[in-house]
Amino acid sequence: MVLYTLIPMEQIFGEEEVEDEKKKKRRTIDIGGAFLEVAQVNEEEYEIVRLISSNPSHFLDARFQPGKKIGLKPFWH
C-alpha cells in the first residue's frame, strides 16, 4: 500500500489518545441504501456518529441525525 497524502506518516499512524475507549465500540451498520456509524453508549443504546449516504435527502431525515440515540441490541453479545 502506498499513501499519497500531505499528512505525515507519524501523524497518521502515531500514538492514539486515551479517549478511544468509546471509539472501540463503534460499528458501521447497513440500513439499506446508506450506512450508519454508531457508537455504543450503554448496553441497550447506540448513538449515531455519522451517516454515510449519497442521497442528500437522507441528511435531512430526523432519524439519522448525528447524536440521536437508537436502540440496537448488539448481535455479538
Binding site: M1, V2, L3, Y4, T5, L6, I31, G32, H58
Partner: protein
C-alpha cells in the same frame, strides 16, 4: 404436517435467535429510508479526510472508505431515478489504489458528474477532482501537487524506486487525460522547489488551478449544481433524439 413442521421450525428459530431478531426488527424499523425522504435525482458523494483503502487507518483519522463509496457509485449508475452525481471533495489524500479506483469509477459513470473542491483536494484528491465531466474549485480551496513518496521506508533497491515511479506515472497520466493541463506543466508543478518551504511541490489555490487547466471553473455550490442540471438536460435531450431515431 408441513404446517406443524413450519411451526416447530419457527419456534426453534425464535428461541435461538431472539436477540438477533430484535436487532433485525430494530434495524428494519430504522431502515425504511424511503418513507419520508424525498427522492433526489442528484446524488452526492462526499469525499473527506483520508481516503482509506486496503489498510484501515487508526480511528483518530477521519476517513472516507472505498468499501462505502464503490457500492454507492454502482447504485448511482444502476438507479434510473438518479440522473446526476455531484462529488464534493475536501480531502488530504490517502491510499493511491483506492483513490485511483474511485477516480476511474467516477470517470466511467454514464451519468453526468460534476466535482467541487472545497477547502482542499490534495495529493490523490487531484485525480478524483478531475475525474468528473466538469470540475469546480472554490475560490479559497487549494490543491497540493507533490511527488509520491514512501515515507518511513528506505528505498534500498532500484526496483522500489521504479515502483514509485510507476505509481507516479499512473497518477500523472490520469490527471493529464482527464483535465486540460499538459504533462510538462503538471510535472513542473509537482517537482517545483520554489513554492513550498520544506517540500517539493506546488500548492495551487482556487483560480490558479483553473489557469493551469487542472480544474474547469472557479465556483461554489450554486454553480456546480447549475452545471450538473445543464448536463442532465443535455443528456435527456440526447436520449430523446436516440429514441426518435430508433
Amino acid at each position: 404436517m408441513s404446517n406443524e413442521m413450519e411451526e416447530q421450525q419457527e419456534q426453534q428459530e425464535t428461541q435461538e435467535n431472539q436477540q438477533q431478531n430484535t436487532l433485525m426488527e430494530q434495524i428494519q424499523k430504522l431502515g425504511q429510508t424511503n418513507v419520508a425522504a424525498a427522492e433526489s435525482n442528484i446524488h452526492c458523494l462526499t469525499i473527506i479526510g483520508q481516503i482509506e483503502g486496503h489498510l484501515a487507518l487508526p480511528p483518530k483519522n477521519k476517513t472516507t472508505k472505498y468499501e462505502h463509496l464503490i457500492p454507492q457509485i454502482i447504485a448511482i449508475e444502476q438507479n434510473e431515478k438518479i440522473e446526476g452525481l455531484l462529488v464534493m471533495l475536501n480531502t488530504v489524500g490517502g491510499d493511491v489504489e483506492a483513490g485511483l479506483a474511485i477516480a476511474e469509477m467516477i470517470s466511467t459513470l454514464s451519468k453526468p458528474t460534476v466535482a467541487l473542491v472545497i477547502g482542499g483536494g490534495h495529493s490523490i484528491g487531484v485525480p478524483i477532482a478531475v475525474s468528473a465531466d466538469y470540475s469546480f474549485i472554490a475560490e479559497s480551496a487549494t490543491m497540493l501537487i507533490h511527488p509520491v513518496r514512501m515515507s518511513g521506508l528506505v528505498i534500498g533497491v532500484p526496483q522500489s524506486f521504479d515502483y514509485i515511479e510507476k505509481i507516479q506515472e499512473r497518477i500523472t497520466r490520469f490527471v493529464v487525460e482527464h483535465s486540460h493541463i499538459s504533462e510538462e506543466k503538471f510535472k513542473e508543478l509537482m517537482y517545483s522547489k520554489a513554492s513550498l518551504t520544506t517540500d517539493v511541490g506546488t500548492n495551487v489555490v482556487g483560480r490558479q488551478a483553473v489557469e493551469y487547466g487542472l480544474i474547469d471553473e472557479v465556483g461554489g455550490v450554486a454553480q456546480a449544481l447549475g452545471k450538473l442540471h445543464q448536463l442532465i438536460e443535455e443528456r435527456r435531450g440526447k436520449q430523446r433524439v436516440n429514441r426518435v431515431m430508433q
